[in-house]
Symmetry: C2
Subunit: 278 residues, 2 copies
């Protein structure tokens, strides 16, 4: 059962925000859904957008300017929150890059985070079912994309469930979380110190372990992104894709940074990419 | 002298936020400027966007999705703040519809607001000069538009300075502030109880008193706008335009509300309108 928080008409479709009580996270979760005007005539393909650190379901829908092209192409867009909220776990809100707003799209195995910090199962199973049951979407035509931590989430989820997600793209994703400060902190905290367990949540490792048979992965990366050198490491993903024959369309965009101004500038390309592959 | 707060590359141009010390308002004011890529080759036409109640220079640049089409058409867009801030006047932050964030684009004549609440002169003179001196804009090709309180601001400023502002448009403007609760509160507070003084800041009265020789005024109004009946009164502006032969293109957009989702849905039309008339 979902509760409607708000609905706004936008480009002839509806931008909604909803909530539901989640079993996976053990709390009430918000999510946003844009339904294009074409949904009046029957099920439409659906894209999942995963946001970055500190974000909620709100950032993308207000800042990315995606509704215009989604309405034109007839795509639904689902935007989950980025973690459980309000569980009251010790230290859950102490840092911007771990805990609240920083679920990293994993199923945590280390206490206390194993209770509720289960964004992987939340997005791939629970929310997936809720969306399929509550909105006129075609659950056989699903793509996924995201930004930064959410780019990591989109890549890892698609690589782990290639039969569900037909297309994947990302903006400035964390390409190798096992080898950057953000990822090492999160994966240690959620999964423990055994790095073999991390490979399930590292896009570069997943390319090595599982490959990808879908359409070429599309990634846009700003050339002036303040996190490019220290956190994102697209070169590691590129090397893995080359070694394992996975097609990757990595576009370095000179002068662009890590912000939503960068995302907005190229969102149309990503929506067209997914529409062509769904 | 202006200070750069931030600059982000966006659609090949630059979305900047700046500040300067204003003589008119007696405080440091922020403003945003989008410069399209065409500005590299010489001066470009410039649009002023005036925001609504509670807004700052930030709302439009992050939510309206205007940069895409401004970059295509080669338009600069300047977004001022909506009032003086931090003057410490008694009660200045007590309500959302008067004082801070609610300057109503007037030059106040009633103490203590007459000190600093001078957004009309700030925008038409001081900021205008700062922009002309600091950015490659063509000060002979200027249009103005805005939303709600800012739609009122855009209309009244254009009607009072028709030789400066060649084109004017608005989203859900307060069309007759002398005859709605928001406007009556603001005009009483800033200008006093003598309603004859209010006519200088009421678009409907200005149409009656001065007319408009420029291109047809473009207004979009959401049909499901929660403020339509009580505050906005486009029918009064329509009647005045009809009576005085002023061309008005008022478009009622069924189902749309007062939000930025409405603005984003039709911003392209407004940018094309201004570009065609500048």
């Amino acid at each position: 059962m979902i509760t409607t928080i708000s609905q706004n008409k936008c480009f002839g479709g509806t931008q909604g925000v909803y909530s539901h009580v989640s079993q996976e996270t053990g709390c009430t979760m918000r999510f946003a859904v844009f339904m294009p005007p074409q949904a009046k005539d029957g099920p439409v393909p659906v894209l999942y957008w995963l946001s970055g650190l500190t974000c909620t379901e709100e950032n993308f829908i207000s800042k990315a300017g995606a509704q215009r092209m989604a309405a034109e192409l007839g795509l639904a867009i689902v935007c989950p929150d980025t973690s459980a909220r309000g569980l009251g776990l010790p230290g859950e809100a102490d840092s911007y890059d771990f805990g609240v707003g920083a679920g990293f799209y994993v199923d945590a195995t280390v206490a206390p985070w194993s209770r509720g910090y289960r964004m992987h199962s939340y997005i791939t199973q629970e929310l997936f079912s809720v969306i399929a049951a509550s909105f006129p979407v075609d659950a056989a035509r699903v793509g996924i994309f995201g930004h930064s931590m959410g780019g990591h989430g989109a890549l890892t989820i698609a690589l782990k469930h290639p039969s569900v997600y037909r297309s994947v793209s990302a903006f400035a994703p964390i390409c190798a979380p096992a080898r950057c400060p953000w990822g090492e902190k999160a994966l240690t905290g959620y999964l423990g110190v055994d790095r073999t367990a991390w490979r399930e949540y590292d896009a570069t490792a997943l390319i090595e372990d599982r490959g990808w048979q879908g359409p070429a992965i599309l990634i846009d990366q700003g050339g002036s992104d303040q996190f490019l050198e220290t956190q994102l490491h697209p070169e590691l993903l590129t090397q893995a894709c080359q070694r394992f024959g996975v097609p990757l369309n990595l576009r370095l965009q000179p002068g662009y940074d890590h912000s939503y101004y960068f995302i907005a500038s190229f969102i149309e390309d990503h929506l067209r990419f997914h529409a062509a592959n769904l």
